[in-house]
């Protein structure tokens, strides 16, 4: 059975909140790691870092519509045993794995572009870089959890998301990454 359907059987506001928190915590952990990586890449000239990010976006954009690149990923599913726990704990643990962004299947090129952005064109000051990384992490968690949390919160039926919506979200993310890189290039 689809994991989202397993959570849907126990739909409640508590499950929705725990799913959201799990996804955000997972994303914060990944973003914190990328923040450390960005610190190591600080010696790279700003123009080179921004141009590299723009190049990555350009290479990834066609992959939104069809998988032209074999992007590295773990191709793993969260095991069913996670759902043996209480529904709230199960939702949190399940979403944490999803929120990490690299532990399960990565079906969109957008996360690769976002990871490149965080590693290469994060602001220079530690405080500013941390705020930027946390902004990306929290919104990634919200986006990753939006479908399951909204279903759990409103008790609505679980449905597959249409391909056009997922592609549009990928494109928006890539455009936003390009905007951050252009901003870094012109700074």
């Amino acid at each position: 059975m689809n994991s989202a359907l397993l959570l849907h059987r126990h739909a409640s506001p508590a499950v929705a909140v725990n799913h959201l928190l799990g996804a955000v915590f997972g994303a914060v952990l990944t973003a914190s790691t990328l923040l450390l990586v960005s610190g190591l890449l600080t010696p790279l000239p700003d123009a080179v870092a921004a141009a590299t990010t723009l190049l990555v976006v350009a290479l990834l954009a066609p992959a939104v519509f069809r998988p032209i690149w074999r992007l590295p990923q773990r191709r793993w599913q969260v095991p069913r045993q996670v759902f043996d726990d209480r529904p709230e704990a199960a939702a949190r643990r399940f979403a944490f794995q999803l929120g990490l962004g690299f532990r399960t299947y990565v079906t969109s090129p957008a996360p690769y572009a976002v990871a490149t952005m965080l590693a290469l064109v994060a602001p220079h000051g530690l405080g500013e870089a941390a705020i930027a990384a946390m902004s990306v992490a929290v919104t990634f968690g919200i986006g990753r959890s939006a479908v399951v949390s909204s279903h759990a919160l409103f008790g609505s039926a679980a449905v597959d998301q249409p391909r056009w919506a997922l592609n549009a979200a990928s494109l928006c993310s890539l455009v936003a990454v390009a905007a951050v890189a252009v901003d870094a290039l012109s700074a």
Binding site: T107, A110, A137, I142, G143, R144, C172
Partner: protein, 58 residues
């Protein structure tokens, strides 16, 4: 056997579910338009778009 009332509730639940994608994408597109003038908005769109784009998988 399902009652007409239960069937109507299911239809409403399905409609609510199907409204999530257009609503989320509409917000993202609107925010993307602002991305080139506001770096914080761009960061948020990048994160939210990437997160939602993975919603086709588990």
């Amino acid at each position: 056997m399902r009652t007409p009332l239960a069937a109507a509730a299911d239809t409403r639940a399905l409609a609510r579910s199907r409204a999530v994608a257009p609503a989320f994408v509409a917000c993202l597109v609107a925010a993307t338009a602002v991305s080139f003038v506001s770096a914080p908005v761009a960061l948020c769109v990048a994160g939210a778009g990437a997160g939602y784009s993975l919603s086709g998988s588990v």
